[in-house]
Each structure stands twice: as C-alpha cells, then as structure tokens.
C-alpha cells in the first residue's frame, strides 16, 4: 500500500470515511478547519452528507439525530467549539448513542488563541457536560495513529453505544506525516443495530429518551451505564512504553507532548540518563495499573503536559503515594522544545540523585 503525505486534519477525515462515516456536521473553527474542508469534498464522492451547521450546538444535535437513525457520524471542533457541544455530548451519553467527536485543542480558557495546547484534558476525561457519564477519550501522537485511532473510535462507539472523543491539538491537525490507510469499510456491511429509530412500520415502536423522571428508574439507568463504564475500563485501556525497562525516572505525556518528550528522552539517553516514557493512548479509561507498576519500580514520575497541570492528577492517582510525582507544563499554546524538556528531566534526575542510585531491578 502506498503512503500518502497528509496533514492530520485530512487524515482524520479520510479515516472517518474509511470507517464508514457518511455524515459530518460541524461549524468552522481554527485550527481544525481543514477537517470540514476535507469532508465537504470527500463525503460528496461517497454519497454522504456534509452540513456546515449554523452553530456548534446545532451540529452536535444533528449528530444525535444521525446516531439515532443508526449512522456512523462525526463532528469535529476545537476547544471553545467543543465547550458548546457539551450539552449534546451529555445527551449522547445518556441516550447511549454512538458518535465520534474530535477536539483539536487550542489555547484557552475563553477564546484563548489558535495555537496547540492540551488544556481540555479535564473537560474530555471528567465529563464536560452535566451528569454521571463518561466519554471514551483517545489521544493520538502521530498521523498514522490518528488514522488508526479514528477507525477504532467508530468501532468503540458502536460496540459500547457511547460517545468517543479523539483528543488532538492544533499541531496534530496541521502536521503532515506519511500515512497508510486501511481498505475502506462499506457502511452497508456493518452489523445492523436493533435499537435505531427508523420508522416503526412492521415492528413495535421504540423510544430513545434521556428524561427519566422517576429517580428509581434513572438510578437503574445510571447503574447500567456504570456497568458499561466498568466493562470499558477493564477491556479498552491502551498505552505505549518507551525505554522504561532500565528507567529510574519515567516521563508521562500524551499526544503531541509525548512526541516532544520522546525527542528529549533520546537526547538525555545519549548522556547516560536512564529515563523512559509512559504514553497513555486512552485518557479515559486511564491506564492506572501499568503506570502504578512503573511508579512502584522507579519512584520518580514526571508528568509533562501542554497545560498548567491536568493529567498529572491521574498520574498521582496511579502512583498512589508510591514515590514522587513531578510536573512540567507549558500552557497558552506555547510549543515546548525537546531541549527544554530534556533540561527538566535532567533537573529532576540529578536533583533526586538518580545518577547515583543503585540499578533498579530489571522489569519483565
């Protein structure tokens, strides 16, 4: 298969189409305008529907409608736009509707700026909308992974009847890398859904509602959702480790920040600094257990994020008091360089005397 050099936003669009997505509803916002740009042409070629809605609120409700009718559907936006979609995302979760929402994050809060940032980690992993719910959150770190995770997002959404968020950033959307796409999926070949609203002719009526006035009924629904979230937590955690086997300090980073951290780690490894990388690919469910094991073995974790400290809270939950959790972040859309991250690694590594420490027990 030939590789194609494509920018992240276009990769996201192409991967969605290949996953069988035929419906896209969105509203423009930098730095992800290339997604609707791409979808407006590409969906036409495959007989799909592209709508530039009048607002983010309208677009997420169009997503809700298409999902109710059983379609694979996507919307994309960037931070302020994703805030506007949160009400709809809460409804999707309550209604148990599959949908894919991509957030190419930019600097915030408020209107912020259009530079790449990771300030929406809390919003993505802690709800964002109201109520007792979870979104599956996937964090790609390269264009190829953006392609792979977009396909997985549609599968997970259908499998669990749950909204799935792809959490990228402006850099991921603008960057170009070679990508190999899988063969496209024909939407007609996907398993039929037995819960969709497609007209009740010849079958009993169905309803999809999130208004459950009787507290006992809603509580039962909440417990049903909880069991689903537990099942997702058990089955779907995904992460990458890099040079962790002999590491005395492990950097924890996701998405673009993880790429920059990898560059920093390569640099300090040349000077004999024993440091590795733990990169969660699912931010929810967060891979607590594998990170807990690294915390137990190394006692030194450094969370690095392009924000002022959000994922670090999950890192502390994973470490659960086993050793030190340090943090380094650059908020506001500043793109940190591998050099400055290398400097931070050295600071904590030598500061804790890890160059003097006895060799750690080898991890299998």
């Amino acid at each position: 298969m030939t590789k194609r050099l494509m920018r992240g936003s276009h990769v996201l669009g192409e991967a969605a189409v290949r996953a069988g997505c035929r419906y896209y509803f969105g509203y423009p916002i930098t730095p992800q305008n290339e997604v609707p740009e791409y979808m407006s042409g590409r969906l036409l070629e495959v007989g799909g529907t592209f709508v530039q809605a009048e607002s983010e609120v309208a677009s997420i409700n169009m997503v809700m409608g298409a999902a109710m009718a059983g379609a694979r559907v996507m919307t994309t936006s960037s931070s302020p736009g994703v805030s506007l979609k949160q009400e709809g995302i809460s409804y999707l979760a309550g209604l148990e509707l599959p949908a894919v929402i991509a957030n190419m994050m930019r600097g915030g809060p408020g209107l912020g700026n259009i530079a790449p940032a990771q300030g929406d980690y809390f919003q993505a992993t802690r709800g964002g909308g109201h109520g007792d719910y979870r979104c599956i959150v996937l964090a790609p770190a390269s264009c190829q992974e953006l392609c792979d995770l977009t396909l997985r997002a549609f599968d997970l959404a259908d499998k669990y009847r749950n909204p799935v968020m792809i959490l990228g950033d402006g850099m991921m959307g603008q960057m170009m890398e070679p990508v190999e796409f899988p063969e496209p999926i024909d939407p007609a070949s996907l398993p039929a859904k037995d819960w969709t609203l497609t007209g009740a002719a010849g079958r009993p009526q169905r309803t999809i509602l999130s208004l459950l006035l009787d507290p006992k009924v809603l509580e039962a629904h909440n417990y049903k959702l909880t069991r689903k979230y537990d099942a997702i937590t058990r089955a779907e955690q995904d992460w990458e480790t890099y040079l962790c086997d002999d590491a005395r300090l492990v950097v924890v980073a996701f998405g673009t920040a993880a790429r920059i951290a990898k560059g920093a780690i390569k640099r300090v490894r040349e000077m004999g600094v024993k440091v590795g990388l733990f990169r969660p690919k699912t931010l929810w469910p967060f891979p607590y257990q594998p990170l807990a094991e690294l915390a137990r073995d190394t006692r030194h974790l450094l969370a690095f994020e392009m924000n002022s400290g959000q994922m670090v809270e999950d890192v502390r939950l994973a470490a659960a008091g086993q050793g030190e959790v340090y943090f380094y972040g650059r908020p506001g859309g500043v793109i940190p360089t591998p050099d400055e991250v290398a400097h931070q690694i050295s600071h904590y590594y030598y500061g804790a005397g890890l160059d003097q420490a006895a060799a750690v027990a080898h991890r299998a």
């Binding site: 590789k3 050099l5 930098t30 730095p31 259009i114 530079a115 402006g170 850099m171 603008q174 960057m175 170009m176 890398e177 070679p178 790429r259 920059i260 990898k262 560059g263 920093a264 780690i265 390569k266 793109i335 940190p336 360089t337 591998p338 050099d339 400055e340």
Partner: protein, 184 residues
C-alpha cells in the same frame, strides 16, 4: 541519518511549499518525515515558516530545538532563525533579499541569490524552487532527480510547462549553490 530543517520567509514566497516538497520527496525515497507548518493568522507578506525532519529512524519530535539547517528567504527570518541553528549547522540565505550580517561564526553560511536567479529564469515565483535546488546541493540529501520526479505530484508540476520550468529552477539553484560552496 536525521536532518532537521527550517524554511522561513514572507508569506507568498512558497516557503511552506519548499518544506512540503522536501517532505514528499523524502517520503517517496523511503525516509521517515514530519512536516510541521507554523500556523496562525498568516497573511501574504507576513512571515511563514515550517520545520521538516527527515530521518532513517523513527522521528521522535517534529519540533526541532536546534535545526541542522535554516533556509532563510528574507530579513526578518534571518533575525529569527540564525540563532536557533545548531553550532556547525548551515544557514542557506536568499542573498537577493537578505542584507543583514550575522554575528555567529560557527555556521556554514551559504548565500545564493535565488530571487535574482528566478527573475533570470523569467518566473519570479520560482525562487523557492531555485532555493530547493540549492538545498539539495548543500545538504547532499537525496539527489536532484528525486526532487524533479516529486515535483510532478505537487502544484509546481501540474502543467507540463510549469513542471519544465521548475525542474530547470532546481538545476539553476543547485549549480549556484555548488558555486557558492566552491568559493569558500
């Protein structure tokens, strides 16, 4: 082999196209590549730049702290990027437009008057492709033929006449850079 390059100049000079051409050609030759454009409220006449990393290995960071080479198409870019290039790295300069002196003595300085050369070719807009020819000669990364081939896949080669002109522009740039290197 890993080469980190930065291309910088005015919006409208084809700076992003230079980076794209390098990334595309390198990919076609089996290399790993990342292409990272600086984006913002970019306008014609403003500044534009992009970072391209080409490597035989997996590329960790698409962000380059200290690039191996900076290709500078105008004065403001010289100010911004001449300090970033790693010690012993290369500064490839459009000497038709860049007049400022640089204070550093630890760089390999290659001035090529690409805007003038493009004008002589009869197409001012081909200055970026002339510069890419110089880039190939200076870095020794891949050969000129690979770039000539990749041109056909871009907007620089959509029409046969334009493709022919741009292939010529690559040669002119490479020859000028070889001359500049020989003088040093």
């Amino acid at each position: 082999m890993t080469l980190k390059s930065v291309f910088a100049g005015f919006g409208g000079q084809g700076v992003l196209m230079m980076g794209y051409l390098l990334a595309l050609t390198s990919m076609r030759q089996g290399k790993n590549v990342t292409y990272l454009p600086a984006y913002g409220a970019e306008v014609r006449g403003g500044t534009a730049n992009c970072t391209v990393v080409v490597s035989d290995e997996e590329i960790a960071s698409p962000v380059a702290s200290n690039p191996d080479i900076a290709v500078v198409m105008n004065n403001p870019s010289l100010m911004k990027f001449s300090n970033l290039v790693r010690s012993g790295g290369t500064l490839l300069i459009n000497s038709s437009l860049v007049e400022s002196k640089i204070g550093r003595t630890d760089l390999n300085l290659v001035p090529v008057p690409v805007s003038d050369l493009a004008h002589e070719l009869g197409e001012d807009r081909s200055a970026n492709v002339v510069m890419m020819g110089a880039f190939v000669a200076v870095t020794g990364l891949l050969n000129l033929d690979a770039f000539k081939e990749a041109l056909a896949e871009t907007n620089l080669g959509k029409k046969p006449k334009v493709l022919e002109l741009n292939r010529k522009a690559l040669e002119v740039g490479a020859a000028a850079a070889r001359q500049a290197l020989g003088k040093e």
